[in-house]
Symmetry: C2
């Protein structure tokens, strides 16, 4: 790797990768990606730039700061051991955490807004491949991702088998299911219906479709969590000081779970851009490893990269049968792990005590494979 | 039963039941319920009014016309045999198909609109008990309902055990789960956000929150269907003549499943009132057999009415473990049946070949119980 492009440990660097043309033929000139790096700089041997690279792929509303959203997974002595590996994670194109997206400035002036094209998971990956080329990293030790990051990890294995030693694909499927497209497109509809959306060109107005983004998140969050876990926490409890059982229904008299969802909405509203949410949700809708490759199972069957699959037993959004399907069809399948948790899809974030050993097991396999054993 | 209040066979009658006070203390003066009746009038013995009554409870957007929404289940020789039974079904209070609801005229002028109170499932049932009193029906042979109708059937058994010989409770739970409240309150939010909602007082404006109702239905429909069934039908197919994979995301370039959900939305928009949808969705949120009864399991344990439970194995909205929970806790439990279907919650409507024999089995048991065997 080019040492001059290595971000400081735990920090990030914005790296220009030039002009991008999407799978569907649209242009994104002057694309930049924000790259985060994690490595223990106090550990002199091997030098960070000589360590095997673990490329982590973040989920829809994640970003490059893996240590923040995957606590306990990355660091010295952690499963993604920063004494041994150089852990890299780039904010996705279309996102809003430093990489080029709808909220970025357009080279011709103003914000990208509605001029930002539709992107696919493959676009996200081909842009990242360009980043690795700029970084002079010909091959990564492993690519690891969950949810939308899992879709990218899978496409990495299919698109650039020569650049990836092994892949860990977590809580995702070979393609969007119709149910996912349905619930995801409903979220997009709600954002588009917000009067502040302005067709996606709201960035100069000073006020965005915050209401729509919050409503989308409320719906999405219920697909990220297990229904048993949500019920155990909130049941039919009223929110403290409010009475949803009163003589007249009132929006300010809520159940505890409504207040919880409102908090999830507020948290996302304060940290994420609606335009990026729409762009990346649409990318998830476009996810299909079979497109242009003779179908889903044929594409999976040709996968040369040793790939391990992980799912959560109570996942509503990406049900476990989808990971079983990947396992049955991947050409170079090296194992399936199940996270057992009432928490649903978010189990990969929450169940660190299960996720950690799975990462370790995967890296033991990846190390053995790299050593030719 | 009072023969002068018997609707014509397959027809209906609007029956005044007087002033209602809700569980939470609000008044609904001059309440009327629209009663539908199904009986074979060509079969002279016993006379329709002397036949054992089967009281059917419809679901959220259903109505009293059982023969329409439950095809093949009611009629001569059908599981709900109109030669043997008098099948009655009333449109629920708060609905929009003939019974008093937010779209009805208020005795003080104008439409009820926001003056219509919050109602609970128990309110729906106590109002129906008033109807049976007016009809001079002291006791029904069986009460049968699914989904919101199942919640009513369950409350019938708990509230009026002296008036019900047996109950069939289909695809519902002992109380709303937090997940249900979450997804249902999200639907209410979308309707409330429609500019045409006007706080619920839109009836005189000539235009209602049709957009919001449609968006709510899109979301709801995905909870009524199984994800495997939706995926088998639509997968990632584009809608014919549209290209959701194009260079720019456009709302008019849809996946097939989006078009399908749009059709579901349009169908409901043309036949249902948004105010009723909000009122009845809120009633589902309030469903809790344990409220004021020492908790859910204590309430179920005291159930004296012989009750049979039915669920669908792929139900997302009312998962089968909820029917297993009812079965473990009902004081007078007489059986659990599982509908096996990829269709999810709507399986009780769609899988007639399974639902029919379950209804027949239940009525055999109910007949034996009534005969004291």
């Amino acid at each position: 790797m080019n040492p001059s492009l290595l971000p400081p440990p735990g920090g990030h660097l914005d790296i220009p990768i030039g002009d991008v043309v999407t799978e569907a033929g649209a242009s994104i000139p002057g694309t930049r990606l924000r790259l985060h790096a994690f490595y223990d700089a106090t550990c002199p041997e091997p030098a960070a730039t000589d360590r095997p690279v673990l490329l982590v792929e973040h989920a829809l509303t994640g970003d490059g700061d893996v240590a923040q959203w995957w606590p306990g997974m990355v660091g010295p002595g952690c499963p993604l051991d920063t004494n041994r590996y150089l852990v890299l994670c780039a904010n996705v194109i279309g996102g809003c955490s430093g990489s080029t997206g709808p909220g970025s400035l357009h080279p011709d002036g103003g914000y990208w807004g509605s001029r930002f094209p539709g992107i696919s998971i493959r676009d996200q990956v081909s842009v990242e491949k360009r980043l690795l080329d700029v970084l002079e990293i010909p091959r990564v030790h492993a690519v690891i991702g969950a949810s939308m990051g899992g879709a990218r990890a899978l496409e990495w294995a299919l698109m650039y088998p020569g650049s990836v030693n092994a892949a860990l694909v977590i809580a995702v499927s070979a393609r969007a299911s119709a149910w996912q497209i349905g619930i995801q497109s409903s979220q997009i509809r709600v954002i588009e219906a917000d009067q502040a959306w302005h067709g996606g060109d709201y960035y100069e107005a000073g006020m965005g479709p915050v209401w729509g983004l919050g409503q989308a998140r409320r719906i999405a969050h219920l697909t990220y969590r297990g229904e048993l876990e949500v019920d155990e926490r909130f049941g039919t409890d009223p929110q403290q000081g409010e009475d949803p059982y009163g003589p007249y229904r009132r929006p300010d008299q809520r159940f505890a779970v409504e207040s919880y969802l409102d908090r999830q909405a507020q948290k996302l509203q304060s940290r994420f851009d609606a335009g990026s949410y729409v762009t990346l949700t649409d990318a998830l809708n476009r996810h299909d490893v079979g497109r242009g490759r003779g179908g889903m199972n044929a594409a999976l069957g040709r996968c040369e990269v040793p790939t391990m699959v992980v799912g959560v037993d109570t996942d509503i959004l990406y049900p476990f049968h989808q990971q079983e399907h990947l396992s049955r069809n991947l050409g170079n399948f090296i194992g399936l792990s199940k996270i057992t948790s009432p928490t649903g899809h978010d189990g990969f974030l929450i169940e660190g005590r299960q996720m950690g050993p799975i990462l370790t097991k995967f890296l033991v396999k990846a190390d053995l494979l790299a050593a030719g054993e």
